[in-house]
Subunit: 403 residues, 2 copies
Amino acid sequence: MSNCIVAQSGGPTSVINATVAGVVKGNQMNPIYDHVYGGLNGIEGILAERFVDLTNMTEEENRTLQQTPSSALGSCRYKLKRDNPEDFEKLLKIMEKHDIETLFYIGGNDSMDTVAALSEYAEKNGITDRRFVGCPKTVDNDLMHIDHCPGFASAAKFIAVTALQTWLDVNVYPASRQEVFILETMGRDAGWLAASSCLSGKIDILILPEEPFDKDIFISRVKECIEAKSKCYVVVSEGARFADGTYLAAGESKNDLFGHAVLGGAGKALEAMILESGAASRCKVQDLATAQRSHASEQSLVDRTEAYRLGLSAHMHSADKSFTGHMIALKRRDSEEYDVEYFTIPAKEVANFVKHFPAEWILPEYRGITQEAYDYLQPLIEGTPYITYKNGLPAYVEPYYLR
Amino acid sequence: MSNCIVAQSGGPTSVINATVAGVVKGNQMNPIYDHVYGGLNGIEGILAERFVDLTNMTEEENRTLQQTPSSALGSCRYKLKRDNPEDFEKLLKIMEKHDIETLFYIGGNDSMDTVAALSEYAEKNGITDRRFVGCPKTVDNDLMHIDHCPGFASAAKFIAVTALQTWLDVNVYPASRQEVFILETMGRDAGWLAASSCLSGKIDILILPEEPFDKDIFISRVKECIEAKSKCYVVVSEGARFADGTYLAAGESKNDLFGHAVLGGAGKALEAMILESGAASRCKVQDLATAQRSHASEQSLVDRTEAYRLGLSAHMHSADKSFTGHMIALKRRDSEEYDVEYFTIPAKEVANFVKHFPAEWILPEYRGITQEAYDYLQPLIEGTPYITYKNGLPAYVEPYYLR
C-alpha cells in the first residue's frame, strides 16, 4: 500500500475539520492507505515537508476534531503558478519520497484551482501514480455545481441566530426611541450568508451584492420602517455595491495577495447615509467579522454531518486509481425529506467561478427573499450537535500546526 | 391578597428573563400575590399602565422564557427625577389603583437608584403599603456589594468562547504572515468583561479601563509577540483610557440621556496605532457589540440558575411587609465547591457606584490577570443549559411588549 495526505487551505469554517475527520475515519474503516498524513499549512507546508501522522487518531480525538472550528491543520494562501513548474516538480518529488499517492485538498475556489493545476501537470508529464482530490468548503457558498458548500450552513445558522438575538435587543426600548440596527455579514460577492439572516424572520431590509444598491430606495425603506414601528433591522453583505460597481465600503477596501478585495465597512457606510439623511436618530452597526466563520457552539448538525461524510466519500472515491483532478460535490435529493448524495466533478469546472444568489430569489426594494429561497436554506441549518465542554468552554483539539 | 408587578430596565442580558421567570414561579409555588403583572418597558410603561398578566404562565413558557435573551418585557432608560414629584405621585396612584403592593425592578445602577428614590419618596410621604425591590442585572458586573451580577457570566462565557474560536482562526496561516487580532468588549468603565476573555487561555495583551493606557508599552508588547510567533491576540475594553482620562475611542464617543458616554471604537484606535508604528503588517478588529449581551446559545448554567433563583428569592423576601428599598444580592460561600447565598442590601448603597476590576488582579504590561482573578471567574461560566430549538433556531418567547 501507499500513503495519502490531507490538507486545508483558504479561510477556515466551523466544520472544515469534520472533513479531515471523515478522511481519517474512512481509512480506519476501510484501509486504502498505510498512513493518512496531515499536511500543515496547506500546499505551503507540504512543500516544506511539514506533516503529522493522523492514521491512528483515537475515536475521542476524531469526535473532538469535528466540533473544533477553524483549520486544525493550519491554512495558507499560497498560489501555485502554472507558468512556473518549480513548485509542481518539488511537490511531486515530495509525494514520491513519502510514497504519497493521493492529496486531499480541502478549500474553496482557489484550492480547486490548485487541484486542477496539479492534476493537469501530472497528466501532461505522464505521471499516473499521484492523484489530487478536492474537498469543498467555504462559508460564502459561492462554488459552482454543488447544491451548497460545507461550512456555509453553520455560518448561516450563526447569522440567523444572531439576527434573532440582536433583533430582540434592538426592540426593547419604547416607540419613543428610534433605532436602526445594521448587521454586516461576510460572503464576498455572493449574498448567501446575508440572505440566510432572513431565516430569523425578523429582517426589514436585506442588501445583497447581486442587486445594485440604490440609496434613495434604501432611505425611503428605512423611513417607512421607522414610521411604522420606530425600529428597523437591516442586513447588508460586505460585498454590496453601487450600480457603478464600487463597493459601499469603497473607502476602506484594499486587495489581498490573490487580487481579491478585502471587504468590510458596508454597515458603517449605511449608518452614515441614515444619519445624514435624518431617516432615523439612532443607528448601531454589528459587523460579525471573524466570529461568523469561527463560531462552532451551534454548528448545523446537517452541515457537520455532510462535511464529515464528504471526507468519507473522498476517501472512498480515491480507491479508484484513475480518480484525480476532481472535487467531491453534493446534490440535493429529489425526496420529501431533505437529503443529499455525493458526486464528483472536474475541479477545473469549479475553480475561479462564482455562484451568485439567484436574482429571482430576491424580493424588490430590499424586502428579503422568496419562499423558494427559504425552502433552499431552511433544511441546511437543522439540528444542533451535542458539544462537549471542558472548564466551561467547548473542548477543542490543540491545532496540529502548533504541536 | 394584593398584586405585584415585575419590570425590566436598562441594557438587556442573556438571563434577565430568568429573573422574571423566578418571580413568577415563586408566586406559583407560594402564592403571596393574587396577580403577578409584567410592566412593559420599565417605569415608562408602568406610568402608561401597560401591563401583562404573568400569574398563570405555563411551565413550558417559563422554561422558554429562561432561555430567551434580552428583556421580554421591554426596557426603558426613563429616569425619575427626585426634584420632580409628579412621576412619583402618578406611579403610586397607579399601584394603588391596581392594588399593586410590590414592584420588582430588574436593572443595573440606574434602576437601583429608581428603587431607592421610590422607597424614599414613599417613606417621606408616610406610604407604607407600596414596596420596591431591586433585582440586579448587568453584563458589566460593575455593581457594588454583590459578588457578581446576574447576566455577567453568560456574556463573559460568550467572550471567552469567541476569543478561543477566533484565536484558532487567527493562527491558521504560516509564520510568514503577521497578524494582530483585536477583540473589543463592552464593560463601560469596568474591565470585568474584557478580563474574562483570559479564561480562553489565549490572550497575549489585555487592556482594561482600570489601567492608564501607555502606547509605548503596548506597541513594544505587540512587537514582542510578532517577533516570537508572528501573531498577537489583543483584547481591549471599550472603556480603556489614556492617562489623561480620555477614551482610546475618544473620536467616536458621544453621551446618552443619562450623561454616560456611548463607547466603542477602542479596537479601531489600537489598529491605527499598530499599523502606523509598523509593529505588524496586518490587523483585524472584531467588536463584539450587541451580540455579547444578546447571545444566549451558550448561557452559563451557573448564571441562568442564579438569575432564576434571584427572582425566587426576591419574591420570598417580599413576604415581609416591611421589606422595601432593597436589592437582592449574591454572596459567594466560603466552601470548597462553588456556591452562593442570597442576601439583601439597601438599593441606595448600590446606585451610582461602580465596582472596578481590582488593580491587584492585573498583571503589568498588559499581560493579563492573576490566578486570584481566574479563581473568581472560572466557576461563573461553568455548565451549559439544554436549549430547545425550533426550525433550526433556538425557541424564544415572543416579546410581551409586542403581543
